[in-house]
Amino acid sequence: MSEHQTETETEPDRERAAEATEPDAAPSTATATTESASRPEPSTERTTVAGETDETTRPEWVQYDFDGESKLSVHDLDVYYGDEHALKGVSMEIPEESVTALIGPSGCGKSTYLRCLNRMNDRIKAARIDGSVELDGQNVYDDNANLVELRKRVGMVFQSPNPFPKSIRDNISYGPRKHGDINTGLLSRLVGRSDKEAEEKLVERSLRDAALWDEVSGRLDDNALGLSGGQQQRLCIARCLATDPEVILMDEPASALDPIATSKIEDLITDLAEEYTVVVVTHNMQQAARISDQTAVFLTGGELVEYDDTEKIFENPESQRVEDYISGKFG
């Protein structure tokens, strides 16, 4: 992770120290925790980066031609946090059933961009969003858009695992229960229309898909918070799969995990791409190169600089800045 050596901390020192002393933070995350996925405050997005060359981004660099259908298409997306312009005019077509990696230095807006795709940025009161995001041709920023339906179709896995303080089983069946697809309440049991069996099947299938079944099958009723970090993250992925999404967004899903857990998650992502459209944010470039079909590079100032096949980006990028970033001259 040498590319983060030049990064300047904007957080107050005590906060960094507090994070560093967290018992379960893996060593590899020490430089990665400045960008909090759960709550990207405007102040954490500000980063000064030394060593960037001046150049103008050309529109054709972000033009990515691919065969097949486009699942998500983003047009001229701008995000402002108060006075700060966090994301500048991003346009991008994301092909279905593939892995798209978003890379870039801390504070480049890649997490912000990801959270625009399922409108999780609506949670931040100061955020203002212009432009459009279309899922299968329907604009999710339409005034009449159904947020709940959107998030059902576009699932999300967060940077640090966030299971609910419930049993493993309840964590998995949470989504379908809330959507009314599974009903095991007292009343439905009384009148004999309980979906207990369907629930069991769903739990098993989701856990198998997330490669967690073998580890937890005997203790589905235990509290999910008792699992290890890597298991918790795979549980979160299973939880997401259980709601049957079409797109899965992942915000640095392995950054808080140890190398073994990380490789499990990476294998899982590759498998998921057979069925789902996966968009994953990472600032580990090796990881992006390993798992993704196409890569988008965001650089300082919330700009999408280049978007193409992963191979092309890593071997022969058009932009000088992207090349510098890939080769570790800054970041």
């Binding site: 005590r14 999710v140 009314g180 049957d244 069925e275």
Partner: protein, 531 residues
């Protein structure tokens, strides 16, 4: 590995429909009706006169009937599929249970009171109706289950009011309660229940039932509850101000020369006094607060520092923590009893200002300790490490690094604590309180009465302050004293007005402490988060 089993609905929905508008309007009328009911209950809208010449029961009867009919209509329209909604399979056990209970009460009252049947009839009838409504609400889909029982209830109540069964002069005295229920209470209360259950159903319909409908209904309910709470509390403040401010501020101004006059605060009560005031109570409260703060704050902060910085976390700190929390929750009257049993006999068997100070300081102590500990704990260990790494001793570190960093929290805690003890009455009754209407010269003169004598033989030095060991008044006690003396007491003219003014001054003093304390805390919190 596909899980293609989930239901799908539209991602982008159509624009607002007429159905939604009708549902929203019904909910709004329901909310307005409940507001009208509350205003009637609070006598802000007079019950007897009626509204625009129409008797109040008739007004409520008409509105409730309308609400009932429209709500049932909304449910039926959705159920027969005229409009597209997304109802759940059922309305849920809680909803059904609540409706069952409401209807059971109605049935019980009608059968036993109106029809006059004995328990053999009304009990089974009540149960039967309750269970029937419960099942009726559970079995159909959510749209019918959550509108029909409520709508029918409103319709029934409306009919009862419209037919004059319950009219303006109606009242009912249950045989085994001391109270009677009269129309001015019953009609608005029924109005509240009827309008809210229909508004709730309509709010669900506005969200097209299902989970969005549930959210609409729940949000509406929570908004209403929160609004009610705030209104009641703010109305209380406004009411005291309205009643008391005039008297409290009367005659305020610059007197002869440069002297400043505030008769209500600076006068006592005596036969000669033209405009009696509460000076002795004000002085008493000031001394009580000063004394309590002087004793409790150093002790509380000292203990907090010791527990956080010196003591090892273990049995001892645990005992102290349990003791502090216990002290904090001990009822104030128990502190009073303690003072009565322990302090009063030792101070010459009379109630005294000093005993009051001690008791209040015991009450303040746990609050200061808890808040100080919290703010000390929130000082990051890095500060301590950094200081220690520079070779500074522990005490120096505490004094020059930890305490200054924790000070804002400590100050806030003290201010809030002072607010609490300044309004405390119960313990003062037992250990401090003196005359009901003290004259100005009877205000405790603590500063002027210190005496130091050297005596031969033990104890050699005799420090005394008679003023500290005399009974005194205090603002909250003054208010209590007026109530017990009877509001028509002849000591002062118009003692009710005097009492309201006292309540106003007390409220002003206590709430100022709270406001300052909370403002300080907000200020320091902002400062820390925007560093």
């Amino acid at each position: 590995m596909s899980n293609r089993n989930a239901t799908r609905s539209e991602l982008v929905e159509s624009d607002t429909s007429t159905y939604e508008v009708i549902a929203a309007a019904t909910a709004a009328v329901g909310v307005l009706t409940s507001t009208l009911s509350f205003l009637t209950l609070a006598e802000i809208v007079p019950f007897e006169g009626g509204l625009g010449g129409i008797a109040m029961p008739t007004v409520f009867g008409a509105i409730l009937s309308l609400l009932g009919v429209v709500t049932i209509g909304i449910g039926v329209v959705s159920a027969v599929g005229v409009v597209e909604t997304t109802p759940d399979r059922d309305a849920g056990l809680v909803t059904a249970g609540a409706f069952g209970l409401l209807w059971a009460v109605v049935a019980g009252l009608v059968v036993s009171q109106s029809l006059g049947f004995g328990v053999v009839v009304w009990l089974p009838a009540t149960l039967a109706v309750g269970v029937a409504v419960l099942f009726g609400a559970v079995f159909p889909k959510e749209d019918l289950g959550s509108t029909l029982p409520g709508g029918a209830l409103a319709l029934f109540a409306g009919a009862v009011f419209l037919t004059g069964t319950v009219g303006t002069g109606w009242s009912w005295s249950p045989p085994d309660l001391q109270a009677s229920f009269t129309a001015p209470v019953v009609v608005p209360v029924v109005g509240i229940v009827g309008s809210l259950v229909t508004a709730w159903g309509a709010a669900k319909a506005h969200g097209a039932f299902g989970r969005r409908g549930r959210q609409r209904a729940a949000y509406m309910a929570i908004w209403l509850l929160a609004a009610l709470v705030l209104t009641v509390l703010l109305y209380l403040l406004a009411f005291v101000t309205m009643k008391g401010a005039g008297r409290a501020f009367a005659g305020i101004g610059f007197g002869p020369g440069l002297s400043f006059n505030w008769p209500f605060l600076t006068n006592g009560v005596s036969l000669m006094e033209q405009s009696p005031g509460i000076w002795p109570a004000v002085v008493g409260t000031v001394w009580l607060v000063v004394g309590a703060v002087m004793m409790a704050v150093p002790l509380g902060i000292g203990a907090a520092v010791f527990l956080t910085e010196y003591a090892e976390q273990g049995r001892f700190t645990q005992v102290v923590e349990v003791a502090t929390n216990g002290l904090w929750s001990t009822p104030s009257i128990v502190f009073g009893l303690f003072g009565y049993a322990f302090l009063v006999p030792r101070f010459g068997n009379t109630k005294s200002l000093f005993a009051g100070m001690l008791v209040l300081s015991f009450m303040l102590l746990p609050l200061v300790l808890i808040t100080s500990r919290e703010s000390l704990k929130s000082v990051p260990d890095e500060y301590r490490d950094a200081s220690a790494a520079l070779g500074v001793s522990r005490w120096e570190t505490v004094r020059s690094v930890v305490l200054p960093a924790a000070m804002p929290g400590v100050v806030t805690g003290v201010i809030l604590g002072v607010g609490r003890i300044a309004g405390e009455t119960a313990p003062l009754l037992l250990v401090t309180a003196g005359e009901i209407f003290p004259a100005k010269q009877n205000a405790p003169a603590v500063l002027r009465s210190f005496q130091v004598d050297v005596v031969m033989g033990p104890p050699f030095l005799d420090v005394s302050n008679p003023a500290l060991f005399e009974a005194s008044s205090a603002l909250p006690y003054q208010l209590y004293a007026i109530i017990t003396a009877g509001l028509s007491s002849s000591n002062i003219e118009n003692s009710l007005e005097f009492a309201w003014a006292t309540a106003f001054v007390l409220l002003l003093v206590v709430l100022s402490f709270y406001a300052i304390g909370i403002a300080t805390r907000t200020y320091f919190r902002r400062k820390i988060s925007h560093e």
